[in-house]
């Protein structure tokens, strides 16, 4: 007979061994009073057929905090009720009887200070594969002031970036070097020079340009910096080109970042696929080296696009502002990539505002103060051209980098002409907007008038006048206006 065979068991009924519903384990509390220091999550839940939505919400709260599938007595060694996340409100998603919005509150002490990796390991760790829910999407989060203060946020931010570049009162202009892959270092630098010389502020490596056989990273950096400096001399302006330092290891990335700094680049770039920890490391490096950090959101659509499962991009925007990148691609509305106008406005507000107000018609579900974390500059890139300048100005505002890749390099008279067309269109639109003109309505006329003094613009407008990408968005909002939250 082993020592463990029979012992006296004294526990409350709640802690009898076995399986009990999560909502009875303490992960559902309809009367819970949210604390200012709680982290709040809103999940869109599609329970499996027959699963009660409240039980599903409680299960998500449990699996993303302290629970496992069965009762464990070791809970009793902890102040377990504090650490249990609490689902506190469930409501039906409008026009969708199979989906429910579940609000869950997490005690701040569940998370390590200043760590996106730790935060996400809980919030999106195991729970998205949980069998009792068919689909699950993290729609929004409220990060409390106290927790945000453990993050440094963007090292440079919109204001300081503008001061460093000496560009105020207009969107910044950029372009991605094309073709994405295959150019030699010397030819690549030519594209950079031409674009900057024509009037752009930035050129940019694409997400998948790292260090391939046709062009190793050092060759690219050296020729790009020749282009950057030569264009700066020709224009009398600060110019930059995002040098992508994405690589296989952190050691490689630091080596590339150091070289970029040595060459005098004002900006480096990373891809979202490097992971949250690497992003925070590079952000810290950027802070120590006065470097702007551009983030390309490579890979995000694999989990942000489908409405019923994954993570809404507005949550990624929050995490990346906390992680401390200075730029992030956040949609164009009118371009070739996914983006409903109000959804994209919600992303931009999330990145740029000092505090957020609940506004469901923009997909913002919580009030949230950003605790003075600096602003992250949204980047609009993908299938936009100068003929849309009035719409871009209207939809995206002043604090944005407008990136015309094909719209610069595809110009019939060359890259410089393409860049000039974009810059002239932009300046003409800002001039008209500030003059108080109805620039959205008169946009075409404003551009046409500007093109009389600028042949490259005239050529571009003629070439791309009919190009639009009008497809219905996959990721759309559930609320037209802002209803008040109904009682549970």
């Amino acid at each position: 007979m082993s020592d463990a065979s029979e012992r006296t068991r004294i526990k409350s009924e709640r802690y009898e061994s076995g399986v009990i519903p999560y909502k009875k384990m303490g992960y559902w509390d309809a009367d819970y009073t949210v604390k200012d220091t709680d982290i709040l999550c809103l999940f869109r839940v599609t329970p499996q057929p027959g699963v009660d939505p409240i039980e599903a919400a409680a299960a998500i709260a449990g699996e993303s905090s302290t629970a496992t599938w069965t009762v464990v007595w070791t809970d009793l060694l902890t102040a377990c009720d504090i650490y249990r996340a609490k689902a506190y409100f469930v409501e039906e998603v409008p026009n969708n009887p199979n989906e429910f919005f579940s609000f869950i509150a997490y005690e701040c002490d569940l998370f390590e200070e200043g760590s996106i990796a730790n935060l996400t390991a809980s919030i999106i760790g195991n729970v998205f594969g949980f069998k009792a829910v068919k689909c699950l999407r993290l729609e929004d989060m409220r990060l409390p002031f106290s927790y945000l203060k453990t993050f440094m946020g963007p090292a440079t931010g919109v204001i300081v970036e503008r001061e460093r570049l000496d560009v105020f009162g207009r969107p910044l202009l950029g372009a991605t070097v094309k073709p994405k892959l295959g150019l030699s270092g010397k030819n690549y630098g030519r594209v950079v020079y031409e674009g900057l010389r024509g009037g752009l502020d930035f050129l940019k490596d694409d997400e998948n340009i790292n260090s391939q056989p046709f062009m190793r990273w050092r060759e690219r950096y050296l020729y790009v910096m020749e282009g950057v400096n030569k264009a700066a001399a020709k224009s009398g302006c600060v110019k930059g080109s995002y040098l992508n330092v994405t690589a296989a290891t952190m050691e490689d990335m630091y080596e590339r970042a150091e070289f970029a700094r040595e060459l005098g680049s004002v900006i480096i770039m990373i891809d979202l696929v490097i992971g949250y920890t690497a992003i925070q490391s590079i952000s810290n490096w950027g802070r120590k080296n006065d470097m702007i950090v551009h983030l390309h959101r490579a890979g995000h659509s694999t989990y942000t696009r489908q409405k019923n499962h994954g993570i809404n991009f507005r949550v990624i925007c929050k995490w990346m502002r906390m992680a401390g990148v200075d730029h992030i691609h956040a949609g164009t509305v009118v371009g070739k990539l996914e983006g409903d106008p109000n959804t994209v406005k919600g992303f931009y507000d999330t990145l740029l505002f000092s505090s957020l107000k609940e506004n469901r018609s923009l997909g913002i579900f919580f009030n949230m103060d950003w605790a003075s974390l600096r602003k992250c500059l949204p980047v609009a890139s993908g299938g936009i051209h100068c003929g849309q300048m009035h719409q871009l100005t209207h939809l995206l505002g002043e604090d944005v980098v407008l990136q015309f890749g094909g719209g610069t390099i595809g110009h019939p008279d060359g890259i410089q002409a393409g860049a000039t067309a974009n810059r002239v269109a932009l300046e003409a639109m800002v001039l008209a907007k500030n003059e108080g003109r109805d620039y959205l309505k008169e946009g075409t006329d404003i551009l046409k008038a500007a093109s009389r003094n600028c042949r490259p613009l005239q050529v571009a407008l003629d070439l791309w006048k009919a190009i639009t990408f009008e497809y219905a968005s996959t990721d759309t909002l559930d609320f037209e206006a802002t209803p008040t939250r109904s009682a549970s």
Binding site: I159, R162, E163, D166, F168, G169, R170, G199, R218, L222, M225, E226, N229, K230, A232, A233, K234, S235, G236, C237, V238, E262, L263, G264, S354, S372, K375, T420, R423, V424, E427, A428, V430, L431, N434, E435, G436, A450, N453, C454
Partner: protein, 140 residues
Amino acid sequence: MTRITQGIFSLLPDLTDDQIKKQIDYCIRKGFAIGVEYTDDPHPRNCYWELWGLPLFDLPNSATILYEINECRKAHPNMYIKLNAFNNTRGIESTAVSFIVQRPASEPGFYLTRQEGKGRNIIYTLQSYAVQSAAEGSRY
């Protein structure tokens, strides 16, 4: 000959006084303070042009600034002059609008010196033809 493209409207034809007035009106509507600055050293990293007086706060209309721009033009007819507007809203507290309102008749621009560094590294220095050719005040 080159054209320095600092400021918002450098790729458009030089703004007329009427166009400048409309931009000033915009800045006043937004509640910005407005200042005039001038220089004969427009190096892109020269972030401190000379102040033509202090920025003006709570302006009733554009006439005062237009007057100051014209006075500055009279005093420095062949220098760069720009208008800067400042936004003191919390979270911004920086320049909100900046554009050139006068240029010298001729803009010789900048040249690069290239110093061979380690490996293929080149150390670039951007220098102004005007600045290296003459002392301050007699460059353009």
